[in-house]
């Protein structure tokens, strides 16, 4: 029971210490803001870098060529740019500014008009012979991503066949074309009714937009990193109590050793949980981050992470002997763990070996759980559960060793 009064006293002291609010909330928010602004481009560039840069020239300028290029533009794997000047497009292709150049020639619509239904069904054998050139489409590869041209050629050919099929059929057999159109529209209507309102935008069902996707990574990463700064505050609190001899007063009072440890640990656990909640609320309010489809599942991850951090704080408090050691060793430990776990650089950017090494830190398990809950459309709850379990095991281990060391030092 008396442990509660130790907790209450420490909460009061923490509330009166402005450094606590600064280190635990203001500092991570500043980090997230600065890094969000400065690395947001980097994060976007990473996703851009995986897309093929495609230059397009439409020399046909008909409805048919428009339909084809609309299909091309719709494909997200391609970063498409339209040119009027073939010389300029060729120069950029040679410089590697674009990877592939597609030129829809001026005879595209004429070639399409010359086709019949058989050419569509047997595209490898008929007038098309499987080559877009037979539709007056040229696909040219640059030297930096030559293999991409083959893929693009196949795609453009497939898009062309798909977009010209209704027109070719209409000119060959108008009745059949009309019948098939009616059947297709009916099928689409029925499918729409079955799905009802459930069919919403599917761009990203976790709610994250392209603009705030960077904060889906930064907020949890820096939150986890700064949650572990509680280690320094806790160790400093123990050292201060020992140096002021108030710890001795507490030890001879009517309070058990474990009660004292509990009383000293719980306030920092509370502060740590509140810190995470504040940072997540700020992440949503200021940066538009999403809490994922199951925000309620964030609670066990937050608590387990804070438990691991405060238990580590207790352990460090039994190792360091002075405030300067807290500053030196505490900061070293927190920053190194943050570095190898993936707090400073997203885990999926790290090499496989580093990702495995990172698993020795509680930070990494926390990040794995947050990644599932914040960024996945359907989080793997088994992964989240395992991460929470490992975090609790870290907490139990740190607390057991810390308690043992505390009693031994006694």
């Amino acid at each position: 029971m008396n442990a509660w009064y130790v907790t209450k006293k420490d909460l009061r002291l923490l509330a009166r210490d402005r450094r606590t609010v600064f280190v635990l909330v203001a500092l991570p928010l500043a980090f997230i803001s600065i890094l969000g602004l400065s690395t947001g481009q980097l994060f976007s560039e990473k996703s851009k870098s995986t897309r093929v840069k495609l230059g397009v020239i439409d020399q046909d300028q008909t409805e048919l060529s428009g339909k084809l290029l609309t299909e091309v533009y719709r494909l997200r794997a391609l970063e498409t740019k339209e040119f009027d000047d073939r010389v300029e497009a060729k120069r950029l292709l040679d410089n590697g500014k674009i990877d592939v150049l597609v030129v829809v020639g001026p005879h595209y619509h004429e070639r399409v008009e010359g086709l019949d239904v058989g050419d569509l069904f047997y595209s490898d054998l008929g007038r098309l012979q499987g080559h877009p050139q037979n539709l007056d489409i040229e696909v040219e590869a640059g030297s930096f991503l030559a293999n991409a041209a083959e893929v693009v050629q196949e795609l453009v050919f497939a898009f062309a066949v798909r977009t010209i099929a209704p027109d070719v059929l209409k000119s060959s057999d108008p009745k059949l074309a009309l019948k098939l159109l009616v059947q297709a529209k009916k099928a689409a209507r029925e499918r729409s009714e079955e799905e009802g309102d459930a069919a919403g935008p599917t761009l990203d069902s976790t709610g994250a937009s392209r603009a705030n996707i960077v904060y889906q990574t930064l907020v949890p990463s820096y939150t986890v990193m700064f949650v572990f700064f509680i280690v320094n505050l806790m160790a400093r609190s123990f050292i201060t109590e020992r140096d002021m001899q108030t710890l001795m007063r507490l030890r001879i009072a009517d309070i058990s050793r474990s009660g004292l440890l509990l009383g000293k640990t719980v306030p920092f656990l509370c502060v740590s949980v509140v810190q995470t909640l504040l940072l997540f609320i700020a992440g949503k309010a200021l940066f538009g981050m999403s809490w994922g489809k199951h925000p309620e599942l964030l609670i066990p991850v937050i608590i387990a992470t804070s438990l691991a951090a405060t238990a580590l704080g207790l352990l460090v408090a039994t190792i360091v002997r002075s405030e300067s050691q807290v500053t030196a060793y505490g900061n070293f430990l927190v920053l190194i763990m943050a570095g190898i776990s993936g707090c400073l650089m997203p885990r999926n950017w790290q090499p496989e070996l580093m990702q495995q090494v990172g698993l020795i830190t509680p930070h990494a398990w926390s990040l794995i759980a947050y990644e599932q809950l914040l960024n996945r459309e359907t989080p793997d709850l088994a992964v989240v559960g395992r991460s929470v379990g490992v975090l609790l095991a870290f907490a139990a281990g740190f607390f057991a060793i810390g308690s043992w060391r505390y009693r031994r030092a006694d």
């Binding site: 008396n2 009064y5 009166r16 001899q245 108030t246 009517d254």
Partner: protein, 315 residues
């Protein structure tokens, strides 16, 4: 029955004895001085009495119970006022006392009454709602003292409670200590200020290098010692010192005067001491050193310590 019985207590660090076969007991209402220089073993002894260090040998009984096996109830018999100001600077004076009362199980009206009483006792009622960080050094010391008394322990351990305290606070603290004894509490008063110990302690134990040198009532201890003879002369210390070597101590007063101290050891026979004083005076006459004054000075605990160890307390 003694409130505290310490018997053949020993403690060593890295093979070096810091407390060596210490035995004493303290009665209720008694102020017991534990005197010695820094490093004499006072703090280690008190830490062992408070159950914060495990003795290597011997026993400590608090109210008849071994201190390393105290129940929660028996812990209430013990109050500690550490040498450091062991209070929280960011809490107010009242909040500090309330907290220390709470961890001793005090609640509600009793807690409020005791906090009010202690604040009045240590003279901090008007400052009760100020943060301790705004207190003067003396006020902090008084609050430190009050925090150890809040739960009305039967034995109070005071470790150098007046270090760095202004005369007003020192006087206030000493009066408070005396009041505790008057209320029947036993007090262990560790200090290297002998004049404080002489003024308030009922008994003192003089320890050095962990060993008990002397124990008893201050006046009785001093009765058995004798006064030294102090001779002030008009001569430089350098001129007269060689002739007095082994007979008396010579200290320089200024460029023209010196002070000669003929010490009276416990083993000295009165006739032998008289012969030594005569020899010193003859030597001074032979050196043509004019005697300005001769006086005897009473022995105090500080001089007693010097007699016992050959060292000053503050060495």
């Amino acid at each position: 029955m003694s409130i505290l019985e310490v018997s053949h207590l020993t403690k060593a660090y890295s093979g070096k004895a810091v407390v060596d076969d210490l035995t004493f007991s303290i009665e209720p209402g008694e102020i017991f001085g534990l005197l010695g220089p820094n490093g004499a073993g006072k703090s280690t002894t008190m830490m062992m009495i408070a159950g914060q260090r495990r003795p290597d040998g011997g026993s400590i009984l608090l109210n008849g119970h071994p201190v390393d096996d105290l129940t929660a109830g028996h812990r209430l018999d013990l109050g500690l006022v550490p040498q450091e100001v062991a209070i929280y600077p960011d809490l107010t004076g009242r909040e500090n006392l309330e907290f220390f009362g709470q961890i001793y199980g005090m609640r509600g009206a009793r807690l409020r009454d005791r906090v009010d009483h202690v604040l009045a006792d240590i003279g901090l009622t008007e400052h009760a709602h100020q943060a301790v960080s705004t207190f003067s050094g003396g006020m902090k010391r008084r609050l430190n003292f009050g925090a150890g008394l809040l739960h009305e322990p039967r034995l109070v351990i005071l470790d150098e409670p007046t270090v760095g305290v202004d005369p007003q606070s020192r006087s206030h603290l000493l009066e408070s200590v005396q009041r505790q004894a008057d209320q029947g509490r036993a007090v262990i008063y560790a200090s290297h200020y002998m004049e404080e110990a002489e003024s308030i302690c009922d008994r003192v134990a003089i320890i050095d290098a962990g060993r008990l040198l002397k124990i008893g009532v201050p006046t009785e201890l001093l009765e058995n010692s004798h006064s030294n003879v102090w001779i002030e002369v008009l001569a430089t210390a350098d001129r007269i010192a060689p002739g007095l070597k082994g007979v008396a101590d010579v200290q320089s007063v200024n460029d023209h005067e010196a002070q000669v101290v003929v010490r009276r050891e416990r083993r000295d026979h009165p006739a032998e001491f008289s012969r030594r004083v005569s020899a010193v005076l003859e030597q001074l006459a032979a050196a043509d050193a004019e005697v300005l004054s001769i006086e005897t000075r009473d022995h105090n605990l500080e001089q007693l310590f010097l007699d016992l160890t050959g060292r000053n307390l503050r060495d």
